[in-house]
Symmetry: C2
Subunit: 283 residues, 2 copies
């Protein structure tokens, strides 16, 4: 897999391209983007070797699709149309059901591997790409059985080389669970940021009083709306469900406070404390 075409060269696409190239110096990375400015930035950051267009992927060994998930759904059939029989196409979208569905009956479905590397940060664009982003990170692969065996093998070799841990899941389960451990976090963070900004018109005061705890909880509110709006749209039902549960838990907590039931407030926190063990691995 020497001729790599990266469609979208932001945090994920750019970091993947960098890592793959570092592990195989013969690789040539071709960048494809709607915006020429992005390509120029990616060139100047050495994320890509050459600019390319969608028609060029007829010469691809590997196509990496890291664009907003609505664009992936739209473009993926065309991408499969254009690639040679031997090429592998991978996507990195935060939703998997709609993306898998978009190509379920495509004659080249077996050239596609659906994945979700859990390696995002709040940053986006070519300048967000970093070395070794994927070391130790989980990469969730969906419907692996629908990918040609030889291409599965190539993909896994690549993921291993850049340090990823692999987990297999079906797209429906992926979208349901990821709503809890990723999509909800983003909304909680955005709305927390909104609540504070609305209230604290004097921003200097927020800045001065905000500690690392606040920074940590609102970090994700720096994320790209261009990327996240389509994710919420595609995972609407799951996200709404998580939001309802989250809102209900917050209302409960508030009610305990209003009723001066601080024993219940204490217990709510105590029972959640074992998130420590979950985050540190299972004891």
């Amino acid at each position: 897999m020497k001729q790599i075409y990266a469609i979208g060269i932001g945090l994920i696409g750019g970091s993947l391209a960098k890592d793959i190239k570092r592990h195989d110096s013969e690789v040539v990375v071709h960048g494809i983007s709607r915006k020429d400015a992005t390509l120029n930035e990616a060139l100047s950051l050495n994320l890509i070797d050459k600019k390319a267009t969608l028609d060029d992927i007829s010469k691809a060994d590997l196509v990496i699709v890291s664009i907003p998930v609505d664009a992936t759904v739209k473009l993926l059939p065309t991408i499969l149309d254009k690639i040679p029989e031997t090429a592998l196409v991978i996507d990195a979208g935060s939703t998997k059901e709609a993306i898998c569905k978009a190509v379920e009956n495509h004659p080249k479905r077996r050239n596609f591997l659906a994945m979700h590397p859990i390696a995002g940060t709040e940053f986006s664009g070519p300048s967000a790409a970093i070395d070794n982003l994927f070391v130790g990170k989980t990469n969730i692969i969906c419907e692996v059985e629908k990918t040609a065996f030889k291409l599965q093998e190539k993909a896994l070799k690549l993921f291993e080389a850049i340090g990823m841990r692999i987990r297999y899941m079906n797209p429906v389960a992926h979208d349901k669970h990821i709503a809890y451990v990723s999509h909800l976090s983003h909304i909680s963070s955005f709305m927390l940021g909104k609540t504070v900004i609305e209230k604290e018109k004097n921003e200097r005061d927020i800045f001065d009083m905000a500690g690392s705890g606040f920074a940590s909880t609102v970090r994700l509110a720096k994320s790209s709306p261009e990327m996240w709006t389509p994710i919420f749209k595609q995972n609407k039902a799951n996200v709404i469900e998580t939001l309802e549960e989250y809102i209900n838990n917050l209302i409960h907590f508030k009610t305990f406070m209003e009723q001066d039931d601080f024993e219940a407030v204490f217990n709510e926190m105590r029972e959640t404390n074992h998130i420590k063990d979950i985050l540190n691995g299972i004891n």
Copy 2:
């Protein structure tokens, strides 16, 4: 200020004791705690030089009170009763109104300086104490005018030595603003952790799918319920107000999603994105 008595030797008290000692080798730190085990741990970690009891503070130059805020309200009058005329007492509570009120008419009110160093982490206890915790951190001082001028001076010299940035505020304003930039973050984090734990009974799956974003938003759910319950109790009215606004913002966001108004979803996020600039300082 050579004889220092630390009442409570956890993250804040322990870190303060460490830093102060490092900047003045003649200082002797005496530890006071309800639990002998805490004192022994603090001794073994070199946070304190000696164990002491409350009566010993009659020999204090400086008393540092870093215990849960309900305990501070109860104990502070007694502490002022017991100190010599020349001693300075500082507290580090996350609420300020009730604490200031508890000693407003105390004959030794001028020996007390109310402060809130914004330097907490999600950890607690003596083992959480670290060097240089306060470098570059904001220390909010309340009702500075009620502290004797000489003691103000001593305190500021000390805070400067350990690297703190000082801000002055009245206790009512402190409690109102801190509800937004700290207390609400803790509740959002605890309830996010709760929502995910309730849903994801298979904890191994949470762990595997959770990325740095989730870890960041639930980090504060590791915090001590013993410390946070009294904070929420003392700052009840402000915290309930912030919670109401936060819940309303979440409901709005959910409604936009239910109505398929993803333009509004986009705008909600776009408008909150400038939290970047707030967190990085004002441009």
